[in-house]
Amino acid sequence: MTREIEKKLRDAVRELLEKGTIDRIVGYEAGSLKFSTTPLITSNKADVDRLVINPFTHSNLSVFLRDLCGKVGIVAKGCDARSIISLIQDRQIARKDVFVIGAPCGGVIDLAKVEKLTGLDRDEVDDIVWQGEKAAITFAGSTQKFSAKEVLADSCLGCDPSDFKECDMLIGEIEPIVGGKELGQDRIREMEAMAPAQRWEFWKKEFSRCIRCYGCRQVCPACFCDRCFVEETEPRWISPLPKWQDNLIFQVVRMMHVAGRCTNCGECERICPANIPLGSLTKKMEEIVDELFQYRAGTDKDAPPLMAAYQPDELEDLMR
């Protein structure tokens, strides 16, 4: 099945490059570790046969678009496709310069969840394959089946397939593996149930681990400032020292900056080396944006960008 999709993708990309429809392709190839993929950015037709589509295509490749010149073909999952639209809305890239190849992913597998389920590290797990609606994980000499909810990234749960827009080409069928908006909300409901003081303690502990590697910012397509506010020195908005208070402020301000742009792709949380559950912040922010503005990031390339356009008569219930 996957092979067939991959063949279709490779053939399509080869033709696009040959015809000059695109100058280069940004896709995924097999990574050097188990259950990993790595971005493949190439203009060379000979590299096309390395393209893959599988449940481990974690990266949101739209983060590379601003740096690439010429017409760029990009393999995009649903959330990535929304990021691309958001970048177009913000005039960071031009619609005509990008050729979007939609690759419905059925959700990416969250290897941190797999590690919790198996009690092993990812390199000690033997195999992970989809069998119908279950993920069959082989480890420690036997195979166990888990539901999609148990293994998919939280950001994929309740992913809305109707969001998949602006694709110039579609490889495969769009069908969500796990439907139902509420599925990805468990963690924020838990957090909402906490008393404010308890929640404060929770985030204090989480942000105490932050090492200020700025991985969250660097993998984020919505973080496209040429110079991040963290790097400003006149005035200096926050300290570059990794104190938990400054770490928290950095992330809160980053969240505000990406509100209406963040598509909840889950990359910031996945790559965080300190395991800070940033997805809880992005998910809550997505809800607030929806509630206040009835706005969903990256679903209409012609809509004015939420935080960069202001109407005099719009509601003023922003500060609360």
Binding site: G31, T38, P39, E124, C213, S239, I271, P273
Partner: protein
């Protein structure tokens, strides 16, 4: 050789705790790193894979106060930080991380003695533990040692089932074992088991690089812009690989000031992948990403060896497994173009 039963280790740790702050590999904080032993946890005696945050953090903390200062009569008075750093014992560190400490020691006592680093270092005892389950990203055996070798530690433990075989490496190590309960003479069988464990650990490290070939090629490909642009294309310029690298030691210096002019000077980790690196004192000479990626590779595999005769990489694999995009230094090193011999000659002549 001596040995100690695993069940006797907690008592030994308690004894050491009277003199040292004892750190062990732990996930209690939410990320695996060296943490103060809680007196209960013994999981690391049976399963001890490399911590996500390397133990270098105990010598070069992510944030360290250097001194305080205050304004007085139109000038500044410096207030040194109080006294010596506490005595610490790191239990269960792996050969790659211990070797890394040995490697960065060189730079901290090179042009000048870095008292912050060195005083922590002098007050530390390293109890190594052979690594019996290397990750698929590990490649230490290509860097001149194996996952069970006793290097740069004070004592070394090798897992032989229900006990550890003990190698006493330094006087310091012998000292901390003196009078320890449960330390007994090892038998010939124990030593054989340790040798087998060492061999099996070595065999588990499957990732390889050819350092001789790398040393030959690197001087030839510095100006191969096309190659470096290609390999750096997917790098996102975050600080993960360097911050979590046990041999990366760059730091930045920042002051925190109050309105009355008093404050403190700190140092914190810095990273050559950042576009803003060294922009405060001057300019970043490596504005483009490919130059920064190249710098990281050259610093570890060419510049450091030129200065200190050792590669500044111990193959711990953190930069590979923690990288957001799986940028793999072993692939870059293995794919270095052969370069042209002519260029090598030119370089030789020029020097």
């Amino acid at each position: 050789m001596k040995k100690i039963k695993k069940q006797s280790i907690p008592e030994l740790l308690e004894k050491w705790q009277k003199e040292f702050a004892v750190f062990v590999p732990s996930k209690a904080s939410g990320v695996s790193q060296m943490e103060v032993w809680d007196g209960q946890d013994t999981a690391f005696l049976n399963r001890n894979r490399n911590t996500a945050v390397p133990p270098k953090e105990k010598f070069l903390p992510g944030m360290e106060k250097m001194f305080g200062f205050r304004k007085e009569e139109g000038s500044y008075v410096v207030e040194p930080t109080d006294g010596e750093p506490p005595k610490q014992l790191l239990f269960g560190i792996h050969p790659c991380d211990a070797r890394a400490i040995g490697i960065i020691d060189m730079v901290f006592k090179d042009a000048y003695d870095d008292k912050y680093y060195l005083s922590r270092r002098e007050n530390t005892v390293l109890v190594g533990m052979a690594c019996t389950s290397p990750y698929d990203s590990c490649f230490c055996t290509s860097l001149g040692f194996g996952p069970a070798d006793a290097m740069d530690v004070d004592i070394m433990l090798i897992d032989i089932g229900d006990a550890f075989l003990i190698e006493e490496v330094t006087e310091k190590g012998r000292g901390i074992l003196a009078g320890a309960k449960g330390v007994i003479e090892a038998t010939e069988k124990d030593e054989k088991e340790a040798a087998a464990a060492r061999e099996s650990a070595n065999a588990k490290v499957s990732r390889k690089i050819d350092t001789a070939e790398i040393s030959r090629r690197l001087p030839l490909v510095f100006n191969d812009r096309e190659f470096w642009e290609e390999v750096s294309a997917k790098c996102v310029s975050c600080g993960i690989c360097t911050f979590l690298c046990p041999t990366c030691y760059c730091f930045d210096i920042n002051d925190e000031m109050l309105q009355d002019g008093s404050g403190a000077r700190y140092r914190n980790w810095d990273c050559c992948s950042f576009a803003i690196y060294t922009r405060m004192p001057a300019e970043n000479p490596r504005e483009e990403k490919w130059r920064r990626v190249r710098q990281k590779v050259y610093h570890k595999y060419l510049f450091y060896p030129e200065l200190f005769n050792v590669i500044a990489c111990t193959g711990c694999g953190r930069c590979i497994r923690q990288c957001p995009v799986n940028w793999d230094i072993t692939q870059t090193l293995s794919n270095l173009p052969a370069g042209s011999p002519g260029k090598a000659e030119e370089k030789k002549k020029a020097s």
